[in-house]
Symmetry: C2
Subunit: 190 residues, 2 copies
DNA sequence: CGGGACAAGTGACCTACGTCACATAAATCA
DNA sequence: TGATTTATGTGACGTAGGTCACTTGTCCCG
């Protein structure tokens, strides 16, 4: 499945777009490739785009004053990623995004998204429903962090994304779970 | 400021509606009052509405298998509250909402919201932008839980909502912060 | 007004996790 | 290929926060 088909199938899960409308929508995306290790958004940057992952994997993460990293999201195919706080408020990035497995992404600017929402009703509907889902997911993650222990959350993560086990080093998984890499290591090597 | 003006001012922060459109929008809300302690959504319920708080305070919370409570949100005036996962997916509620200070709320059904989004472009825009903000807030909260200690989070909460200190018992604040009431108590009584 | 529920403080003790230090092992690149 | 990162495991030890038990204070409401 190529980039266009991937996006089209993704959009179709939430709303319907005529072929003409989808072509218009798709024409505003820029197709980009990133290599493992490449930075996409760096804290302090101006943020102008959001990214739709076609293949590979990105991570979005925050680095605190002690240089400790917290991973917000592993962005797998058909996931969106950006620093949304920065994107929506046109403030400098506070989170970073980089590529952890060679990736193909589609990139949409803030202005193009707003323009498309203005012109195509079901594009606005798509983004509304997409963010609704994101909001529910973020709330679920918060509850999971507060409610479940590390081992449970680790196993849930691997259940949902088995491929992470192979492509992502354990220190990054620990940074996603919010524990030290030593603690994660000791879960299965007591 | 009455309920209508409160909602109108709130909507105006994100988009513009003509007076006729706002009247139409407003006419779909039901004005309800709740007394302290009253349940609004209970886990297992069918969820059909979201609630906009005019005055008073609600809490939304999850109760786990060990009967431990985690508070997702203290819904103050101009905040929205519901079990959005249940509302959007038409599944039974997994979180609860009740009233912690006598409250006036406006209630909007799922169907009415979708109908209004269908008919009034800027209502859809409003809900899109509102949830965008909610998503950013949820992500911030997650980062804060992972990154900051309890004392810091407690002080941030009180800085943002000083009135909570007076109207909300400390065990509920502890449930929001994700610690035991004893730990919260010992922060300032070591 | 008096009793029962709720709120809050505190001591004793336990446990999960963090930190630091070191040892390998695997991957990457010049 | 050989050298330098990077990833991972593991021991020793410290600390934040949880749990349980008990006490005291406060607020309703019949």
């Amino acid at each position: 499945m190529d980039a266009k088909e991937t996006l089209q199938a993704h959009v179709a899960k939430l709303t319907t777009l005529t072929d003409e409308n989808f072509d218009d929508f798709f024409s505003h995306f820029q197709h980009l490739s990133f290599k493992k290790g490449q930075a996409i958004i760096t804290a302090g940057d101006k943020v102008n785009c959001e990214y739709f992952v076609i293949s590979g994997c990105l991570k979005s993460f925050y680095v605190n004053d002690d240089l400790k990293m917290f991973i917000l999201q592993f962005a797998m195919p058909t996931w969106w990623a950006s620093d949304y706080k920065a994107l929506y408020s046109e403030s400098p990035a506070t989170i970073n995004i980089d590529c952890i497995a060679d990736a193909q992404v589609l990139c949409l600017t803030n202005e193009d998204r707003e323009q498309l929402c203005e012109n195509i009703k079901n594009v606005e509907r798509f983004f509304r429903l997409r963010t609704n889902k994101g909001y529910v997911a973020a709330q679920n993650r918060l509850l999971s962090v507060m409610n479940n222990n590390v081992k449970y959350r680790y196993e849930e993560l691997l259940k949902q994304y088995p491929e992470l086990y192979n492509i992502v080093p354990k220190n990054l998984i620990a940074a996603y779970l919010g524990v030290s890499r030593e603690t994660l290591s000791r879960l299965y090597n007591p």
